[in-house]
Symmetry: none
Subunit: 210 residues, 4 copies
DNA sequence: GATGAATGAGCTTTCATTCAT
DNA sequence: GATGAATGAAAGCTCATTCAT
């Protein structure tokens, strides 16, 4: 009853809106830098400079470096995964869904290459041991699981061959997308990313077609 | 009569043999540690301890940390690539060569997971810009190029479909192998690595078969 | 007619009463925390949280951390010293007064151990040099002086031996109480604190008895 | 066989002698500063400056700040305790031993005031919980235990009254010495420290004499 | 050549204090 | 008056690299 007695609800609202905006400013700054560098080469000082705040300010918003990046990852990956899953669970023909999902991932990687590099390391002992990035590992696993179910259903309905396990297919698709996109991005041929989609689709589709 | 006049050739030899031995001792030590940890978490002190030399000694053999690891990578990758290329250039049926190469890569990854994780980061600006690991990037590119030629020849001879570019195929194969092996290693199901080879082969082969 | 003309005395009163209440709320919060931790491990943020106000508010009531704690100490010590002095200045037999005062101090220490620990550091250069805690040093000195006079009077009236200087006796008594209480509290034998009173009294009394 | 092969034993010796000297230089520097300030106000940087080395160098000799100070304390306290125990275990008349030990402690405090202040805080939860200073706590306890036995023997032989428990006496003596010495030092009347010995002795002796 | 002590820039993090709202 | 976000100067600590021996 004490501390709120003199503050109008609107003021509180505006403040928390501003706060949320700044959180996003910081996350965006971290993301921009992450785009260019390895996690271990990014300093909090650098993020602060990019976000145009003092170093100490970061700690008003995130308990530490790892927590900050966890949010960066989760914030970016969640909408991607949601969109992809909506696709998988639609009624379109399987090949169509495949094309759309590959497109989705490729263009995401196009603009978020650093994420995928980092995600490749999530299996390292440091991370699989319960730790700061456990939440992220789980997020990715969850997505993979639901993707696996999409392959399962397609096999059951006879849309694709059931020679290979659905789990293998989900992983293989992921590997192909990541690998190809990474290569393209690394070589700075990002304009060609779209042109990579059809070959992947063709290779993969021929590989699984009934 | 010149400044070398007092050193016998044999002594020089023995000295340089000893020197080379110590170089290898250090490289081997670095490799053992790299097997367990991220590059940025390995300290020169730690390598020195593992190699049973003083920290300063490392700098008599390598100009710095990055140069040391460059050698580690090159030393391990060269024999792998050589063996794989010998395979590609043999006269066996293409599908057979494919199986062998996939096997080769998967089992290498099995015992050198850290290498692949590191290699995934080589495309980052830090590295593609001329830098300490340029040599490594070139080594990998060279391998990829020669692998590409193997696909080219197989298309020319009609052994495989020529719908997809050989360069795409070389990269797609690499992505599949790395992606699948990494997953397997991450999940600690290393004993199952062999069982991954056949699915990859099947998916890929169906995708490219004439 | 002057600038206060629009504020009724009662309103002013109520305001200053409220202000004083909040001051006390803050002091009480700081005291509760001080009970558990070293001064240098207590943050203003923590005090604010405990007092259920914002961090900035503390600075409307106290110029800074040290000033805040100065008040904490003075507020707690003043009643203790007042009670002890009332005792010393009573007409009871000296040994009885001694017992009561020892009891008073021991039980105070029992529930305010942190205070005494802190007081032990007041002699450090940081503090004896005129500084934020000068007021506290003076308060303690004042108490000691009046306690010294109690010993003086007892010597003059022949109640105790006058071999030792009254100033020495006052300090020795304080040392004994603090030392023994601290030990007891440190050892978590706080339930035994009462049983420490009699030995102290006996040792001290035999030491000064006529 | 590798790393030592080229280094003569003398060189090794000289090096470790130098190392030990520097250790002592650092400990001495830390001690000088500790003499003036509270532990929590001393920074590693400051110690390094006083010892005329770089900040990082400190960490070549001690794993951290606490470990450094632990050594400071143990190094200074051990000889004091040894000397005092030799005294206690001698055959001199008890009163004589008492005088010597009081003298010993008082003059030690005279030149190491900071130590005693710190020691007073050793009972705090932070420290009694197993932690960096556990070793120090044990050292002090060990001394107190042996001092307690000295009182015990004196009671058994009838040299002193056995009304009070020997443990109480050991603690009371310590409290008196510390308290009185601290006061004297705080007031900068260090020249008068010697004159404090006799009053303590008189008070304490009358208190325990048979 | 080998050694390992010394360096110092860099890191992440904490926190008393200020100040716009 | 109250708020809490922002500040920035520390702090403790790590480590690649240098260099006298």
């Amino acid at each position: 009853m004490n501390r709120d007695s003199e503050i109008s609800p609107e003021a509180t609202d505006r403040r928390s809106r501003k706060r949320e905006e700044k959180r996003q400013t910081i996350i965006a700054a971290a993301e921009r830098i992450f785009h260019e560098k390895d996690l271990s080469h990014i300093s909090m000082e650098e993020i602060a400079r990019e976000a145009d705040v003092a170093a100490g300010t970061l700690y008003n918003y995130f308990p530490g470096k790892e927590a900050l990046f966890l949010e960066v990852f989760v914030n970016k990956l969640t909408p991607l995964f949601d969109e992809a899953l909506a696709e998988w669970e639609s009624d379109a023909p399987f090949k169509e869904k495949l094309r759309l999902v590959v497109n989705l991932h490729m263009s995401f990687i196009h603009s978020h290459k650093g994420f995928y590099e980092f995600l490749m390391t999530l299996g390292q002992p440091d991370f699989t041991a319960p730790g700061p990035f456990t939440g992220l590992v789980e997020l990715c696993e969850g997505y993979l699981t639901r993707q696996t179910r999409a392959f399962e259903r397609a096999q059951e309905s006879g849309e694709i061959s059931n020679t290979l396990s659905p789990k293998f297919l989900a992983r293989a698709l992921r590997s192909l997308c990541w690998g190809m996109a990474t290569e393209a991005v690394n070589r700075r041929k990002t304009q060609d990313l779209d042109s990579e989609v059809e070959p992947i689709l063709e290779l993969f589709w021929k590989g699984i077609a009934q």
